[in-house]
């Protein structure tokens, strides 16, 4: 990178980190919970921009959609059940935690100064495992995006664990907040005397576009930034937009709770199922080279990806495709379930439950 770009990224780093400090200070000082959630969304956005400067496109993508999008909306649903303001804390109670936090922060900053320079090719992260992955990805898998290759193929078992953890979160939220009959207790009346025609029309235009874009991100994950996790979140955001504008009842008629529940489980089944098919065909669990038996692999047309002379690793390609679909199903269903659980419970429904 030439020097002007380095200067530009350094200046951007300083500016964005100063913004982060200012926003964090504002989050701590404000007493209104809505303002705190709003400022946290802005914080996630500034973090995403800063991660972009650090050239981490997949991480920035996930931070933007999850931190600034879904996390804000679900937190809003959560504080529907609470008071809107926090209490003022006596400053004397904050001395010991403050000193403790300062000491730990100081130790961390001192430790960070011992880390190798950013982008140093001789650092341990870039010279052993990192370099091995960069060199081996084209030979073994053939996908341009190394992050997806590592996530989905080399470390596919870890990603299966992540997917199961997300599914466990879905079950946990469902058990605590309920779905099924309890989640549809939202009263059907509309909000009085307000006309939101523009919003309804724009939402009707946008929802299919967002779903389409989720599929684009899903299938483009091999080539650029993206993948199953981000695509699942974007799909859930489309359904949440529908619920926000047209009401939770209309959305539950379109995407029922039982569908969300089964799709979340189906995602994990698809993922693990790919691994088991690999075992049946003679390889290890999630060893995609054994996904297709040689007879099936001979039936795949050689010019499916455009270039008949280039050697394609069909097992890897289709294996990553299928497991990303599994991740998409689980993540989108989990976030939809969480939104249904939080949005369906308001103070009135809790009171109604207590009365019955």
């Amino acid at each position: 990178m030439s020097t002007p770009i380095l200067d530009a990224s350094f200046a951007l780093n300083v500016a964005l980190l100063l913004m982060l400090v200012a926003i964090a200070f504002a989050v701590v000082r404000t007493r209104s919970l809505l303002a705190a959630i709003l400022l946290m969304s802005v914080y996630s956005l500034a973090s995403a921009a800063w991660l972009m400067v650090a050239d981490a496109a997949d991480v920035a993508f996930t931070e933007a959609v999850v931190g600034a999008g879904v996390s804000t909306i679900v937190l809003l649903g959560a504080i529907l059940l609470a008071r809107g303001e926090t209490e003022r804390v006596n400053w004397k109670l904050m001395i010991v935690p403050g000193v403790l936090a300062a000491v730990v922060g100081g130790v961390l900053i001192y430790a960070a100064s011992g880390l190798p320079n950013y982008g140093d090719p001789a650092s341990p992260a870039n010279s052993h495992v990192g370099r091995a992955y960069l060199e081996a990805t084209y030979r073994d898998i053939g996908a341009p995006n190394v992050v997806t290759a590592v996530l989905a193929s080399y470390r596919g078992f870890d990603t299966l664990g992540e997917t199961v953890v997300i599914f466990a979160a879905c079950i946990g939220v469902a058990l605590m907040l309920g779905f099924g009959s309890r989640a549809t207790l939202a009263p059907p009346t509309e909000i009085p005397n307000d006309q939101h025609v523009v919003l309804r029309v724009v939402a009707k235009l946008l929802i299919p576009l967002i779903v389409l874009f989720a599929f684009y991100v899903q299938f483009h994950g091999d080539l650029g930034a993206g993948g199953g996790f981000q695509a699942g979140v974007i799909m859930a955001v489309a359904i949440i937009l529908h619920a926000l504008v047209f009401g939770l009842r209309a959305t539950m008629a379109a995407v029922p709770v039982s569908l969300a529940r089964s799709v979340a489980a189906l995602g994990v089944v698809v993922y693990a199922g790919v691994g088991i098919v690999c075992i049946i065909n003679g390889g290890g669990f999630l060893d995609y080279d054994y996904l297709f038996s040689p007879r099936v692999e001979a039936m795949i047309p050689a010019n499916l990806l455009g270039d008949p002379n280039h050697v394609h690793h069909w097992g890897q390609h289709f294996g990553i495709l299928f497991i990303e679909i599994g991740v998409l199903l689980t993540v989108s269903a989990t976030i939809v379930t969480m939104f249904y659980g939080f949005a369906g419970r308001t103070i009135e429904t809790i009171e109604a439950e207590r009365r019955t």
């Binding site: 005397n193 307000d194 006309q195 939101h196 523009v198 235009l205 946008l206 576009l209």
Partner: protein, 121 residues
């Protein structure tokens, strides 16, 4: 020719950035919610259009230009709709403007705050 396109694109980008800064200054200095919504949404959309046009000049015609067109389309679709929804919500909640009135909606009489400002209505 390509150099000229680069300079034109750069000029559009700087113009868009200036418009955004003007909008941000407006949001800081305007007196109430409605004028701030006006400043923010107008300059956001205009600044985005100028910047995306500038970026379109900077890159060769192709997939990137299509994506820039899509970003422009989404910003044009969502930013004014969000501003409209916010102003609608603020009006429904009872926030009344400090300058001007809502006589166009037929249900507002000139308030005491505006009678001394010489608001033209």
């Amino acid at each position: 020719m390509v150099e000229a396109l680069h300079w034109i694109g750069g000029a559009f980008i700087v113009a868009g950035a200036l418009l955004s800064i003007l909008g941000a200054v407006g949001v800081l200095r305007f007196p109430d919610v409605y004028t701030r919504i006006h400043a923010a949404s107008l300059t956001d959309t205009g600044g985005a259009t100028l910047m995306l046009l500038g970026m379109g000049f900077l890159s060769p015609l192709g997939f990137v230009t299509l994506k820039l067109l899509l970003v422009w389309g989404f910003v044009m679709l969502t930013s004014p709709a969000a501003a409209n929804a916010l102003a609608n919500a603020a009006y429904g909640a009872g926030v009344r403007p400090r300058i001007g009135t809502f006589q166009i909606m037929g249900d507002d009489k000139p308030g005491p705050a505006s009678s001394g400002d010489g608001a033209a209505s």
